[in-house]
């Protein structure tokens, strides 16, 4: 047949020019590290600096403290990673964490009377824990359904959930810490010791929250890399329309990521309650932004499709260690905030730069 000229509109940009072929393997390793290891480099530099700058940083007590705090943020950030990879955003994780913790703590410490003779609680730790996590998953499910069925933008849905769920947590706790000093009759005055162990205990010298976070990060990594769900999440985030025309159930995938995020927020909240030895309705405030920051610092593309949970783990550690280090260096908390905000921006600028410079 005769050749038709090609519609110039449809001509794609030509392929990028090849890098020089004599690229040696050494340089390739370095480039790979710079491309993928950016957050890790930042974390190492930060630790080295703090180790030199203050004698307190590398003490056992401080490391334990950092790991406990960092673990809670890491768990939240892992859930947030699932959502952001699918090109969504979950602003409700802090509220979900507080609600889950509040529900668990109330169930574990208080007697809830339905009639004079019929009452629930205080329930066992092993009953309260799955209920608390279930509340988180349910909140995520509702978020997911509103976003997909109601076609409400992710940002707005989860912003609404942030406020609503915090309100629910306030209702459940009466605005008081749980357990509170003015406990009703039949109520326990402290949280179950399993819960305190979950937040403050140690296994072979490693803080339990860190162990929990590590287990979750490994499972999450496996799910994202090796399962159909993980692949669908990257596809939906990378190009939603392409995923749809390839037969991916986009809605189902989106619901799944919000359920995962809600569930992990529930776990994070309960671990946090164990660490603080108390739950309250406002304990998650600001965590949604910290978790998003951790994800972004960890190199996940805020618009979806690229990134992973190990980056988010490192991002959570960077955020936590930065706060800890500034405390150790006696920087005023006002300056701490300024610094942390600037660091987020600088890390992302660096990230953009290295992507452009070192991408294949």
């Amino acid at each position: 047949m005769t050749e038709q000229p090609i519609n110039p509109q449809a001509i794609e940009p030509t392929e990028r020019k090849e890098k020089p072929s004599q690229t040696n393997s050494m340089w390739r390793v370095v480039r790979r590290f710079l491309l993928q290891g950016g957050p890790l480099i930042a974390l190492l530099l930060l630790c080295i600096y703090l180790a030199l700058a203050t004698p307190f940083f590398l003490t056992e007590g401080n490391i334990t403290n950092v790991l406990r705090r960092g673990a809670v943020l890491a768990i939240l950030a892992i859930g947030q990673t699932f959502v952001i990879l699918s090109a969504g955003i979950d602003l409700s994780v802090g509220s979900v964490a507080a609600l889950s913790a509040s529900v668990s703590a109330v169930l574990m410490t208080q007697r809830i009377e339905i009639t004079e003779t019929l009452f629930i609680g205080p329930v066992d730790f092993w009953v309260g824990l799955p209920i608390g996590i279930g509340v988180g998953a349910l909140a995520g499910l509702i978020n997911g359904l509103i976003i997909t069925r109601g076609r409400i933008p992710d940002f707005i849905t989860t912003l609404g959930a942030l406020v609503t769920l915090q309100g629910l947590a306030l209702l459940i706790t009466d605005g008081l810490p749980v357990p509170s000093y003015s406990s009703a009759p039949g109520a326990l005055s402290s949280l179950p010791e399993q819960l305190t162990w979950l937040g403050s205990g140690a296994i072979l010298g490693i803080p339990v929250p860190a162990v929990v976070a590590l287990v979750i990060v490994i499972i999450a990594w496996y799910v994202l890399r090796y399962t159909a769900l993980g692949r669908a999440i990257y596809a939906v985030g990378g190009n939603r329309e392409a995923a749809r025309v390839s037969g991916i159930r986009v809605e189902r995938t989106k619901v799944a990521v919000y359920v995962i995020s809600g569930m992990l927020a529930g776990i994070a909240g309960i671990v946090l309650a164990g660490r603080l030895n108390s739950a309250n309705a406002l304990m998650g405030q600001g965590q949604e932004l910290d978790s998003i920051a951790a994800v972004v610092i960890g190199g996940t593309n805020l618009f979806g499709g690229e990134g992973g949970v190990f980056g988010s783990l490192i991002g959570a550690l960077i955020t936590t260690i930065l706060g800890n280090g500034l405390n150790l260096l006696n920087v005023s908390s006002f300056w701490q905030q300024v610094t942390q905000g600037l660091v987020i921006i600088l890390v992302v600028i660096f990230d953009q730069w290295r992507r452009r410079r070192f991408s294949t």
């Binding site: 047949m1 005769t2 050749e3 038709q4 000229p5 090609i6 519609n7 110039p8 509109q9 449809a10 001509i11 794609e12 030509t14 392929e15 990028r16 799910v223 890399r225 090796y226 399962t227 159909a228 769900l229 692949r231 669908a232 990257y234 596809a235 990378g238 190009n239 329309e241 392409a242 995923a243 749809r244 025309v245 390839s246 037969g247 991916i248 159930r249 189902r252 799944a256 593309n301 499709g305 690229e306 294949t360």
Partner: protein, 502 residues
Amino acid sequence: MSSEPTLLEMQQIEKRFPGVHALKAVDFDLHAGEVHVLLGENGAGKSTLMKVLCGTESRDSGQIIIRGEPTDDLTPKQAQELGIGMVFQELSLVPALSVAENILIGRLPRRSFGMIDWSQANDIARENLARLGVTHIDPHTPVRQLNVAEQQLTEIARVLSRDCQILLLDEPTSALSETEVDRLFETIQRLREQAVGIIYISHRLDEVARIGQRVTVMRDGAVVGTMPVEAADRDTVVQLMVGHKPGEQRADAQRRTGPSLLRIENLTVQDHLYQLTLELHQGEILGIFGLMGAGQTELADALFGLLPHESGAIFIDNQPVQIDHPGDAVAAGIGYLTRDRRGSLIPVQPIAPNVTLPLIGGLPLLRSLNLRDERSAANKYIQDLQVRPPDLNRSVRYLSGGNQQKVLLARWMHSGARILIFDEPTRGIDVGAKAEVFALMRRLANDGIGIIMISSEIPEVLSMSDRILVMRDGRFKAEYASEKPTQAELLHSASYATEQVS
């Protein structure tokens, strides 16, 4: 007409893109008060020529003379200042803003302290609309509340409000109803009286005589004829558009095809498709030809579950199937190569995940994937289809158009689909890749796969199809099975609304 002053002369315009000679020594001129119709098949170079005139593409060589003044390199801004205005097929209005704001976008009249003078703005908008004979559009109305025809008029008013004397209309009637077309033609008549010169691009041959004074036909990047409209009867024009192409024949003799694979009965999609019935056999390439917007893509979308259908039944191997989602279609063994290649790829991911994507949707969420198998499958297709560069770690966004198309072909070969729908499979890929795509389609058909090939490129439809269905206005208008039509016949049955309603 020639007594009127010449507004525009384009002489020996040349333009090359990588691999394509898009404009070959094109001469074109336009008089004041004239409608000059520009005809040609897809890819004949009409759009490129118009882009050169609007300054959005630079020309490699040639002269553009406007009102007797030669121009140097034309930028979009200069083109506008010289009174050249273009109304694109895809309108460029801001839906949330009012008609007046859209017409005067970027140059709303100001009062002191930089306050916008709304009453003056609305007056200017009203004046410009009145110039088109439009009085029923209120300048305060947000554009999103207007229908397509009103939006188009708003867009024309916007272009004209910038002292436009050379107006380019690119397929202005493609989205309009009969009465709206009449009104548009009245508007064009009015503009002619105001000495505006109009270049009118169209696919619809029946409009030519109604609206034009002169006709220029382009083919393969060159002007093949300019004539007064009286000389431009449809046979002449069709002849010029398709050209005499020697050596044009079927790739092979009538091939035997197998039993029924897919049957569609009375498929209706609101406003797009009306009672379509078709049958596809194993090993058959069924060509569906139609001009732009005849409903071909909607047919594919409906069959693949992307567009809900109102009524109709789909049978595969004589079993009824329910297709409400692309996932159902994939499970039923259908693959769909959409016309929008970029819209089908995950740009940041490498080849392997892009190839296996349709298989993912059918799996339970937590089913493990075998990445090693996936990579070796991808490698197999890279070898088989000669994807270049053969790099498993490179994001597909860095592949050329033809290679991206191969990745998509690999995707549907790998999905195990037995029915493949190709919507404009060679759009925007170079000549070599085109031949490879055709060879592969043949091979797939020989393996018993049924292929529906949607195309608006006549030679491609003629040479590739075992059978051809012609679509117009959401209906099948003609079928050519054993007897192959000529190019002219095909174009006829796709173009004329007045004859042979079967």
